[in-house]
């Protein structure tokens, strides 16, 4: 195990490469997921406020 982590003396370079790759490829899906949630929240708020408006004023229906 120790030998494996040592990577023949190249530990910093091998794990530095794989570590950054893993980090970014795990963070990106999380960002996309949170963007999806924010978007859904924002758009549904917008749609709700619009339908409330058109109830008050039917002629302004879009």
């Amino acid at each position: 195990m120790k030998e494996f982590l040592n990577m023949g003396g190249y530990a910093l370079y091998v794990w530095g490469s794989f570590g950054m790759t893993a980090l970014l490829m795990l963070v990106e899906p999380l960002l996309v997921h949170s963007r999806r949630k924010t978007t859904l929240r924002r758009v549904s708020r917008l749609v709700r406020s619009k339908s409330a408006q058109s109830l008050k004023n039917p002629s302004a229906n879009i």
Binding site: L24, T39, R42, V43, S44, V47
Partner: protein
């Protein structure tokens, strides 16, 4: 849609297993060469995603289709990420083998220009408020920048570079051990499936944002809860 995420996770796990436990150590670089299993797939994806963006940009310019601009927009951050990873892992490979994190070599410089093209696209698109105009203007930037792709690809042939030439080619086959090659190709397919999954997931938010005034969006079950 979750299919591509599942496929990419499986392929990347197999690729990592093969890359670390099946592929032998290199006779010259020892264990250090294993960086290849992220460096090459990330570099290929950085170029491939740009070509896919250019394809959508052409569709958008010629046929004026709405979704093409959204696809370009959804792909750009992932392309920029892979370009950054290609440069990062390249630096971590160059340091032990060449003795320098960075050299102004044709391959490295043209890859850096690719990174700036992605950043330039993202900056230009977000600086124009009207989405349709932003799509049009930034599509032109993407299409002009596409000349850089063959420059990156052939840079190791055209110039005398420190970066090594291609280890595999369509004409002469591969100069690598077959388990190394297979591990690298599996990782590449995994990164490819990852890119599809993430771009499709991102484009769904972009579509909702841009089409928020339409009736079909207001009638979606996700919106009406």
């Amino acid at each position: 849609m979750p299919w591509f995420s599942v496929i990419s996770v499986i392929l990347i796990l197999i690729g990592l297993y093969m890359g670390f436990f099946v592929a032998p150590a290199d006779y010259k670089q020892g264990e250090g060469y294993r960086i290849i299993f992220v460096h090459v797939p990330a570099s290929w994806m950085s170029m491939f995603i740009y070509l896919v963006m250019a394809f959508w940009a052409i569709l958008g310019v010629v046929f004026n289709t709405r979704v093409s601009g959204m696809m370009v927009q959804a792909l750009a951050p992932t392309g920029a990420m892979f370009t950054f990873l290609a440069l990062w892992t390249g630096a971590f490979w160059g340091k032990p083998m060449w003795g320098a994190w960075w050299v102004w070599d044709a391959r490295l410089t043209s890859e850096l220009i690719l990174f700036f093209l992605y950043i330039g696209y993202i900056a230009l698109h977000s600086s124009i408020d009207d989405n349709r105009r932003a799509d049009r203007a930034s599509a032109i930037l993407v299409l002009v920048g596409v000349v850089n792709i063959p420059i990156i690809y052939y840079s190791v042939k055209w110039w005398n570079t420190l970066h090594q030439g291609a280890s595999i080619s369509l004409k002469s086959g591969s100069s690598m051990a077959s388990t190394m090659l297979i591990a690298m190709l599996i990782m590449t397919l995994g990164f490819w499936a990852y890119s599809i999954a993430i771009a499709l997931a991102r484009v769904r938010s972009i579509i909702l944002e841009r089409e928020r005034d339409t009736r079909w969006v207001s009638e979606l079950p996700e919106i009406n809860q």
